[in-house]
Amino acid sequence: MSPVLAGVLQLLALMAALGLVYRPLGDYMARVYSSDRHWRVEKWIYKAVGANPDTGMRWPAYLRGVLAFSAIGVLFLYLLQRAQGSLPGSLGFQSIDPDQAFNTAASFVANTNWQSYYGEQAMGHVVQTGGLAVQNFVSAAVGISVAVALVRGFARSRTGELGNFWADLVRGTVRILIPISVIAAVLLVACGAIQNFAGIHGVGQFSGGVQEWNGGAVASQEAIKELGTNGGGYFNANSAHPFENPNGLSNLLEVFLILVIPFSLTRTFGRMVGSVRQGYAILTAMVTIWVGFTALMMWTEFAHPGPAFQSAGGAMEGKETRFGIAGSAIFAVATTLTSTGAVNSFHSSYTGFGGGITMLGMQLGEIAPGGVGSGLYGMLVMAVIAVFIAGLMVGRTPEYLGKKIGTREIKFAALYILVTPALVLCFTAAAMALPTPGDSMTNSGAHGFSEILYAYTSGANNNGSAFAGLNADTQWFNTTIGLAMLLGRFLPMVFVLALAGSLAEQNPVPETSGTLRTEKPLFSGLLVGTILIITGLTYFPALALGPLAEGLAS
């Protein structure tokens, strides 16, 4: 079997698996967020934190919940890392420096999981499992909560109430993330991933010398790392490490876990707004971009010219032989089109175009299918923009799902799409203009520029993957990327919740034959076009000086 055919088959298998769980999982999630019954364990949690899960929250209250919960998360994680040196079960690692502790705390709470540390050389069991893994769950649950609040904004009318943040947070964690993670962790262990609390082993190498390998609760963390689109690896090599991602099957399982909730949420959305076809239209737009990017990535990685590449059957540098080009390309696209940022190969070593595809995937705002929750709300904001521009062309003031897109709505949507480009471009420009940050580059020319552009793209979009090559553990990068991650995560949430609040107050407009049909393929196409032109074009000049210059050079 040719590697290309194997790649296509892997992709088809992945699509079949995703298609199989799409309906049941989507419907289940819709029930989770619509039900008014609490599980017993949930009631204990509510009692423990003193929250009333039955009060309806207007958007400012919902937002306060999100921000307060996340602020406490940052603070707790920061203190835990700072205290690591004096905690038991830390494998003897030191406390983390303030700037790196801030960066890591911001990173995991913002669902980014950018890592400026080497997992196996810095973080002990307590921080990994009690700090980072916890945030892997709850930061993902926060994302889904905000998406669900926006969906409720579309579904509800003449009320300002978007549901209860604490109930959404707890249910997302208890009923969705934990059960699937448990199953996934078992499957990963079955594939060969490790799960223990062992210490550090010295292993002798063929070429002499000793390599140090440490154990840990890897499979469980790996499961939620992918499922919650977090991406922070237990080990520095991330999903390229055989303990995290042992073989081709586990690789495919991990890609499945990355994509399953973001894709299925479109079904949840359709269910909750009372028309599954609306969900299919959003899904169609997501799948179009995802399949398109994956195909482009495979093409550029397989076909890359050059004698060394050709004799290897394509651009194999930086890729694991056990995954091959296809397994790596599928993973790379999935991880950058979602806010995951786990890597099983090194994006820096991809062809110029391949590196560009990973960057553009993030720059589109990670919406195809995007992070858990954040992908859906990002896509819905783009749908609002698309409806606003094109909706006028049917001769009515724009409306989406029966809600008018008026001044208030477009204001919040416009602010949303401003945030990440502003963060990415301004921080990258500052890094390029200032004398010291450039010292972190290990390459010169276009590739060096790509390293920095990639870092801020990844941070502000809450991806967390690194282009490799850049030494990001400097005070400048720890601080600015930390800020980019926090602002890139929570500012958009402010605008999404405000938008949701404004939508929920409206009286719905009944659909007529004069209404723009947002459940048709034409609209999905329009949505893809709007995304590519509005968000894609913003980065065109920057991409031209990085990956495009590199890709076109040969």
């Binding site: 009286n507 034959s513 004069g514 329009l526 920057a542």
Partner: protein, 727 residues
């Protein structure tokens, strides 16, 4: 509408009508009273269905140029964030060009950036200029008049501008009415051509729904006393002037929303361009990304096309209404018209011609058709009402009875139609024929010893059941008195209305017919006309309730009205079009006034509203789609020196970096001028479903917007590359 309720008998004549509700009163001076449509053309029966645009004369561009330059005032420009950025860009490049006077490229960019700004202002100036002519005509009507104010019963001469609300003024034949008000005493014919363009005078009288007079119109006969209802400077004419001039124009909600989106895109592109400088310096392309080049790139990327044309589109939309003699009091109302999902249409005058016409003669008891037709004609010669005339016309046209006039018959004793007898006819040489309301004719037959058969009753019932009005035709001769047959009188639905309603349905608009008729009649006409629903025996309260019910379901409602009792419904409706013949209360309550008082125009108003929104969306899409090509022109021009591989992006094969950038800037400016006619006329609009419309507009303006600049920039490059200092 009261005449509609008389279908049990009176074949009413125009002059007996009163306007109790909804229906336009018919001035006695207009014999064609059934159509209160003034000079307006009838709706184009099915036809192209396309909303025609206003004319665009390229000479207007030249004429408006000085105004466009005047609009460069930053205080004016700041209202359009996109064009304000271009203005700042123009100032910056001017400074740079002056500091390096030998740089031909710098000067060329500077000139074209200024032209971009001026072209944008030109679009707005041309749009405004079109209203100016109309405003001038109105101003002429508003010559300062001397009012004859009544104070304690004594007349005194005061200037028209000195009048206050509540003052009583006397106007006699030849006087110009000094201000808006209501007639409180007397009746007069008034020439309102100054505002309506209609030369036929109208009657204004105290009380009722025809009491409103407008300042600036001229009394032709008689004497009236007018109570002034508006302050000087706020009269209808004053408001019209400021409306057509666009002086009081405020941005509509959708326009504000679009401006917000455009401003945010401008900020995004500003960031993309500003941050490009350090990237370029690192790449070694610092020299190619001078401030002039970056400014040019910025101006090309920000949505200047729509930013430049946005206000012109809004003004032109109002202007298209003005050209149809409709005044919208706010742009918001025009926008709402595009969103309307329920149209309330009065039956009479809008859906039907307004008077019933004979459509058929139904014989009974074995009478020959020709005999009935002849008797029907004869008996109707003395009936001068439209209904009566329609009977004689039908007899000649369809039943080939030779035409006759009263003079043709000698020794005939004519029985004229009156509202009391409800019959007309003639007696000649022992033979008498009558036609009229069922009850009147039946009693006439019985009086003369005849009987009325069951067949007659059934035929009459059938006609009534079908929504028509049965009129009996009877004869009294040697054979005694007997009924010959029944005339089927029916409301005639205007030509093309059914097609119009089908179109509206396709556009997602539900039509509801409002009538004072009983439900049976209403249903029959509703079915014939093809409306979606009807409201029979409608009172103003019913109308109001219907509007509120529709609005509670999230629908936007449009209606027309003219009576004082329509005022609350007009105010409640999202689009309330008051007839100019109506009361000042109605005109005050509505958000549009139709100077022609043609209720059918409501449909056109909706179409103009839609066309306005489509134009806005189409040009926004076009503007944004244009950016792709501009990137392909400018990116390789800036960076091909640093990274030669990037020259592969120069897919247009533009001759040099300078000419590539300049071509993009020139294209960007020229496209504004090229699209001015489209902005003013509105994009082509055909009533159709949302899907078809979106597909078409996306293809033309989305795909067209992607492709057109590739071609345009290439052509401009071919031309300017021959210029010295550029090529």
């Amino acid at each position: 509408m009261s005449s509609d309720t008389q279908n049990s008998g009176v074949t009413g004549s125009g002059t007996t009508r009163t306007a109790e509700s909804g229906q336009a009163p018919i001035p006695a001076q207009r014999p064609e009273s059934g159509q209160p449509s003034g000079p307006a053309p009838q709706p184009d029966p099915s036809g192209s269905g396309r909303v025609a645009g206003g004319v665009f004369d390229p000479g207007q561009l030249l004429k408006s140029f000085p105004e466009a330059v005047r609009k460069l005032d930053p205080r004016v420009m700041v209202k359009s964030p996109v064009m304000f950025v271009v203005l700042i860009g123009s100032v910056v490049t001017t400074g740079l060009a002056i500091s390096d006077p030998g740089n031909v490229f710098g000067w060329a960019i500077t000139i074209w950036l200024w032209l971009t700004t001026i072209f944008a202002n030109l679009a707005e100036a041309v749009a405004e200029g079109r209203g100016k002519a109309q405003a001038d005509t109105l101003r002429r009507a508003k010559t300062d008049t001397v009012a004859r104010r009544l104070k304690d019963g004594v007349e005194e001469a005061v200037p028209g501008t000195g009048l206050g609300i509540g003052d009583l003024v006397v106007c006699e034949a030849g006087d110009i009415i000094p201000g808006d008000g209501d007639v409180v005493e007397g009746v007069a014919s008034v020439d309102e051509s100054a505002i309506t363009g209609e030369s036929a005078p109208v009657i204004r009288e105290s009380g009722g729904d025809r009491s409103a007079v407008t300042g600036g119109t001229k009394v032709l006969s008689d004497r009236i006393v007018v109570k002034i209802t508006t302050r000087p400077g706020e009269t209808f004419i004053d408001r019209m002037i400021s409306l057509v001039e666009g002086a009081s124009r405020q941005k509509t909600p959708n326009e504000i929303a679009l401006n917000i989106l455009l401003a945010s895109l401008t900020v995004v592109f500003l960031l993309a361009v500003v941050t490009l400088r350090p990237f370029a310096v690192y790449a070694g392309a610092g020299e190619e990304t001078s401030l002039i080049v970056l400014t040019a790139l910025l101006v090309c990327l920000i949505p200047t096309t729509i930013g430049a044309l946005l206000s012109a589109i809004g003004i032109a939309g109002m202007d298209r209404l003005v050209q149809r003699n409709v005044l919208a009091m706010s742009g918001r109302a025009v926008e709402a018209a595009g969103d309307v999902s329920t149209l309330l249409l009065d039956k009479t005058g809008t859906i039907t011609l307004g008077n019933r016409q004979a459509s058929e003669f139904v014989t009974v008891d074995g009478v020959r058709e020709s005999e009935l037709a002849e008797a029907a004609q004869l008996s109707s010669l003395a009936d001068e009402t439209p209904e009566g005339r329609s009977i004689t016309a039908l007899a000649t046209r369809k039943y080939e009875v030779p035409e006759r006039r009263q003079e043709d018959l000698k020794d005939a004793e004519w029985v004229m139609f009156t509202a009391q007898t409800r019959m007309s006819g003639v007696d000649t040489g022992g033979r008498g024929v009558r036609k009229g309301a069922t009850a009147s004719v039946v009693s006439w037959v019985r009086e003369h010893g005849g009987t009325v058969s069951d067949e007659t009753d059934r035929a009459a019932d059938r006609i009534a059941g079908a929504g028509g009005t049965p009129l009996l035709v009877a004869v009294r001769d040697a054979d005694g008195a007997r009924v010959l047959g029944v005339i089927h009188l029916k409301d005639v639905v205007k030509d093309g209305m059914r097609e119009r309603f089908t179109e509206l349905r396709r556009m997602g608009i539900r039509t509801v017919m409002i009538t004072g008729d009983n439900p049976l009649t209403a249903k029959a006409i509703a079915e014939e006309a093809g409306v979606d629903d009807f409201l029979a025996e409608a009172t103003p309260e019913d109308k109001m309730a219907l509007i509120k019910r529709e609005q509670a379901g999230g629908k936007l409602v449009a209606m027309t009205g003219d009576g004082t009792n329509d005022a609350p419904a007009l105010a409640q409706a999202d689009v309330g079009v008051a007839m100019n013949t109506g009361t000042s209360a109605a005109k005050e309550a509505g958000n549009m006034v139709d100077l022609d008082s043609n209720p059918t125009k409501l449909i056109e108003i909706v179409e103009i509203g839609k066309q306005l929104l489509i134009t806005r969306g189409a040009l926004t899409t076009f503007s944004i789609a244009n950016d792709v090509a501009k990137y392909f022109a400018i990116i390789p021009a800036m960076f091909a020196a640093a990274y030669p591989g990037l020259d592969k992006l120069n897919i247009m094969q533009l001759s040099s970096p300078d000419s590539a950038i300049l071509s993009a800037v020139i294209f960007n400016a020229l496209v504004i001028i090229a699209l001015v006619p489209l902005a003013l006329k509105g994009v082509r609009y055909r009533p159709s479903g949302a899907d078809a419309m979106l597909r078409r507009n996306l293809t033309v303006y989305g795909l067209g917007g992607l492709i057109a600049p590739f071609i345009g920039i290439k052509i401009i490059d071919l031309i300017i590359s021959h210029l010295p200092g550029i090529g």
